[in-house]
């Protein structure tokens, strides 16, 4: 077991690593378009993703049966199959095989499963010569590094660093010329292929109906590894099994497209049973039959298969699409955002099963929860949800860290929490520097160079309700307004505007004073018990008023309230009441767009001469959880005073995401800076969004980096449009 990691220090180091930042930044820039182009001749991507999800999830439900069939069919065709419970069993089997068959030299093509169990070290210790032959894997083996990406293991190194490692290894001066270095690798490794006694490959899939394995590669090394040596060993995890040959179809279409933007890799090999080889006997070449060993590796996979939630990891096809769109991975790479073998959010989950919970705990907090990965994953894995569930389990087992639990005590005690927030307006400085409150997982971190943090408003929204709420005779709908803490205490003006827009629709609005935090900051940390307390408080607060619809102008609040029924489903007293609240709860911009549409007010309007330019930022959760992204734009389009201009990467995370923005303020401000650049490039006067978390972040960015701009919630824009119309 290695020493506990210091994640913050690692992050700081990587943020200063220009090579890594340059490579990852450039890749993040070009990847989405490359993937899009490759998907150009796929008619229905969603159908393929559904197919992978379905095939894999049906397979995992009967994994033993499928594995038995795979084994029987492979054996029938002449392969030897060994089931390895863990790395130790696998290594013992291989070392024994090496001894029995007089194996001294091994060539390998890429196998992450072998890295997971440190296979090479074990073989080398026993005096076996082992060479990785995938160029990237060879480079990191020379460097003594671990892969930093599942598909591009050496993406963290540049040509000069690679040339240095080559120079050291080959004892001759190697120029940092990429084509020449690639040729050098070909020449150097060629003899390794020709002289090897054994070849070890991984597998991208294993087919139960005929015992075949599939290998998807580009360099041609896997074909040599599987062709030349007299023994071929395949290391395959249970999650790679599929029932039939044709089940490989959606995977073979999405894997290359998602991994590298290729329609197909250079090579795709299907191997079933031992194949012929040529061996030299007494100076003559004769044909013989290869020895084929297939090792099915468990190492935590079967435990995952029998877990109702985490069996979802069987839908992973190791394409790394999730890493390729991850905004945190883009900044720090897989050495920081990763464990022993696997990187990123999916890496955290895989590590939990294959390396243990300690490794999960090392880096799971780097998942910012923006859900971009869920839009590209070929197996439709809901990575952020799996991470949250794993957090819940660690909390259940071990409790929260002491400081965090104290904060949650405060947050669940609404009066105390609100009292503290009120106190903050009076004495903001001492409050924010207080050790306890500094850790509030909302917005009360320290000031930073690139971002100011918001001040607590002098008068919270809850104390301004009377100034704005007016009686509506025969209201079209009775609305209950759930503001969430941030709108209540930081952006009360926006809360007031929400009420104005709703009243303009001839709807009456009440603001139940008993409402408190939605519970997201607590549930995101994995604490179910605290979250339940918070949920019950809010349900009771809204039950006091008989409203038709509950409106929240923050996606997190809506999402969280929609989770109340699941949270309380086993509580007979609360289950139905939670459902009733969830059923009534709607997001503000989608609701208003729908009402405007009914009233014929949602059409694009001729803009006034003095119309100002607005660019709209998609909040991660508004777009990817609630699927609301057209409505806010249509609302802006439907105004006369605001002209919408799109920014680049409008739906890329701004870096706030609740506690992440405070816990990892350096990463958070890096993400904000990228967002601010895209915002400024539009020359807009206003940056609009519809999420109070994003508002905190964007206001901070505007203050420090774009003082001429204004940050507004869509509700502010709508209310101002109403004011202007009244004035006309």
């Amino acid at each position: 077991m290695t020493a506990k990691r210091n994640l913050r220090r690692e992050i700081n180091e990587k943020l200063q690593d220009d090579v890594l930042r340059g490579a990852l930044g450039l890749f993040a820039e070009v990847y989405p378009a490359a993937r899009e182009r490759a998907l150009g001749n796929v008619e229905d991507v969603e159908a393929l993703r559904d197919q992978i999800k379905q095939t894999k999830s049906e397979t995992v439900d009967r994994i033993e049966e499928v594995a038995d069939q795979f084994e029987a069919e492979a054996v029938k065709r002449g392969a030897t199959v060994f089931r390895a419970k863990d790395g130790d069993e696998l290594k013992a089997y291989l070392l024994d095989l090496c001894q029995k068959r007089d194996v001294h030299r091994i060539v390998k093509s890429k196998s992450m499963a072998s890295e997971e169990i440190d296979l090479n070290d074990a073989l080398i210790k026993k005096g076996v010569r082992v060479k990785e032959t995938d160029l990237g894997e060879w480079i990191i083996a020379l460097a003594g590094h671990k892969p930093s990406h599942m598909v591009m293991p050496a993406i963290h190194l540049n040509r000069y660093q690679v040339a240095d490692y080559f120079t050291k290894e080959l004892h001759e001066s190697i120029d940092p010329d990429i084509a020449e270095m690639v040729h050098t690798a070909r020449v150097t490794l060629r003899d390794e292929f020709l002289e090897a006694d054994m070849g070890i490959t991984g597998a991208n899939f294993g087919v139960a109906e005929n015992g075949a394995i599939g290998l998807v590669t580009n360099e041609g090394n896997a074909r040599l590894v599987a062709t030349l040596p007299r023994i071929h060993v395949v290391i395959i995890g249970y999650e790679k099994l599929i029932p039939t040959m044709t089940d490989a179809m959606p995977m073979l279409r999405l894997l290359p497209r998602g991994a590298t933007g290729q329609l197909m890799t250079s090579y795709m090999s299907i191997i079933s049973g031992p194949t012929p080889i040529m061996v030299e006997k007494d100076g003559a070449w004769v044909e013989d039959t290869k020895e084929l060993h297939i090792i099915l590796l468990d190492n935590g996979r079967l435990a995952a298969a029998h877990d109702d939630t985490f069996k979802e990891i069987y839908q992973c096809i190791r394409c790394a699409s999730c890493l390729n769109v991850c905004p945190v991975y883009e900044l720090v790479g897989g050495h920081v955002y990763g464990g022993h073998t696997y990187a990123g959010g999916i890496g955290a989950i895989l590590s939990a099963f294959m390396s243990g919970m300690d490794e999960f705990k090392d880096f799971h907090e780097l998942c910012i929860g923006c859900r971009k990965c869920t839009t590209v994953c070929p197996g439709k894995i809901q990575i952020p949800d799996l991470i949250e569930e794993m957090r819940r389990r660690t909390v259940k087992d071990q409790g929260l860290p002491f400081v965090t639990s104290r904060i949650f005590d405060v947050m669940t005690n609404r009066r105390l929490f609100h009292g503290l927030l009120r106190a903050a307006t009076i004495a903001q400085k001492p409050f924010t520097s207080d050790g306890l409150v500094r850790h509030l997982p909302l917005f009360l971190g320290g000031l930073t160079k690139d971002r100011s943090l918001p001040s607590i408003a002098k008068v919270p929204l809850r104390d301004r309700i009377e100034e704005v709420v007016r009686p509506i005779e025969e209201p079209a709908k009775k609305i209950g307004f759930f503001s969430g803490c941030t709108m209540d205490f930081v952006f009360p003006d926006t809360g007031v505007n929400v009420i104005r827009v709703l009243q303009d629709l001839n709807m009456s609005v009440v603001y139940p004073d008993g409402q408190g935090c939605c519970g997201k900051p607590v549930s995101a940390q994995g604490d179910v018990e605290y979250t339940r307390k918070i949920a019950k408080n809010n349900i009771a607060a809204f039950e006091e008023f008989d409203v038709d619809v509950i409106i929240c102008a923050c996606p997190t609040g809506v999402e969280q309230i929609h989770e109340y029924p699941d949270l309380l489903k086993d509580d007979p007293e609360w289950a139905e009441r939670a459902q009733a609240m969830a059923d009534k709860t709607r997001e503000f911009s989608a609701f208003v767009a729908e009402e405007y549409e009914k009233a014929g007010r949602l059409t694009r309007k001729q803009k006034r001469k003095d119309a100002v330019k607005v660019t709209y930022h998609d909040s991660c959760h508004l777009k990817r959880v609630l699927d609301i992204h057209e409505q806010p734009r249509k609302l802006i389009d439907a105004s006369e005073g605001y002209e919408l201009v799109e920014m680049k990467d409008a739906d890329k995370c701004c870096g706030m995401s609740g506690s992440f923005g405070v816990l990892h303020s350096k990463l958070s401000t890096q993400m904000l800076n990228a967002k601010m650049k895209n915002i400024k490039d539009t020359d807009a006067d206003i940056i609009a969004c519809a999420c109070s978390g994003c508002m905190v972040q964007l206001q901070g960015g505007v203050d420090k980096q774009a003082p001429g701009m204004t940050m507004k919630h869509v509700a502010d824009i709508l209310a101002e449009e109403l004011e202007r119309k009244k004035a006309d």
Binding site: A23, L26, F27, N41, R77, G78, D134, L135, G136, I139, M152, P153, A154, L157, I178, V182, H183, A185, R186, L189, F193, L194, N210, G211, A212, N218, E219, G220, N221, R223, L224, A226, T227, M245, T246, A248, M249, L252, R253, L263, M264, T265, S266, Y267, M268, S269, I270, I271, S272, G273, P274, T275, P276, I277, M278, E280, W285, V286, E287, T289
Partner: protein, 210 residues
């Protein structure tokens, strides 16, 4: 097509029986060829098998090849290239023993491939016989013969044929030359496999298993 080494029943020999001939069209070939070229495959489409001799001779002289390994196949034999190569004084290996003995330094490998796939511009090779693999993996240049009428639309069609005809053995899909982007993500052609893939697509109905 050669009747290769079979462990159990024939691996892929009878694939033509399951070939979706009704799906072939000229535009399918054109899609195949254009996608093949997109991934740096060089494609020669010829009317008659005999036209292959000049193409192969030009390639040999262009790269100054000294040793050529050929995985024998009726189509390649009928093309006359073997005799032509030998007549030109170039070493030509056609038995698996000779191919194995010269695996270090053959300059060109020649084999037959079964059919092309329009969706991604690759070809499907029954690579069960060792000589098919040796000539297509080791030399820096691989020339593959195919029939231009044998093109399937996509991945689904290939897997359909494979699942009907394949029991055991080795199948390779080959889509362009060997490539890597492992250093700075710069696409570089020719790592461990051939740096050039040349397809000779023959229209001729005769020759090999037409």
């Amino acid at each position: 097509m050669k009747v290769g080494y079979m462990i159990m029943k024939g691996s892929c020999e009878n694939w033509t029986e399951y070939f979706p001939a009704d799906k072939f069209s000229e535009s399918l070939y054109e899609e195949f060829e254009s996608r093949a070229k997109n991934v740096s495959t060089e494609v020669y489409r010829i009317q008659s098998l005999g036209d292959a001799k000049k193409i192969v001779a030009d390639i040999i002289s262009d790269v100054d090849a000294r040793k050529v390994s050929i995985a024998a196949d009726p189509m390649i034999e009928e093309s006359g290239i073997i005799d032509a190569i030998k007549a030109a004084g170039i070493s030509c290996y056609t038995t698996k023993e000779d191919i194995a003995a010269n695996r270090h330094d053959a300059d060109i490998g020649i084999s037959r491939v079964e059919f092309g796939v329009a969706e991604f511009g690759g070809v499907c090779q029954n690579a069960t016989a060792i000589e098919d693999r040796l000539v297509s993996t080791l030399p820096p240049l691989h020339i593959a013969f195919m029939k231009s009428k044998y093109i399937v639309p996509g991945v689904e069609d290939v897997l359909d044929i494979i699942s009907r005809t394949f029991d055991s053995g080795y199948i390779s899909w080959i889509t362009g030359p060997s490539r890597t982007a492992d250093i700075e993500r710069v696409l570089t052609i020719g790592v461990h496999g051939p740096s050039r893939l040349i397809l000779i697509a023959v229209d001729d109905e005769t020759g090999g298993n037409a």
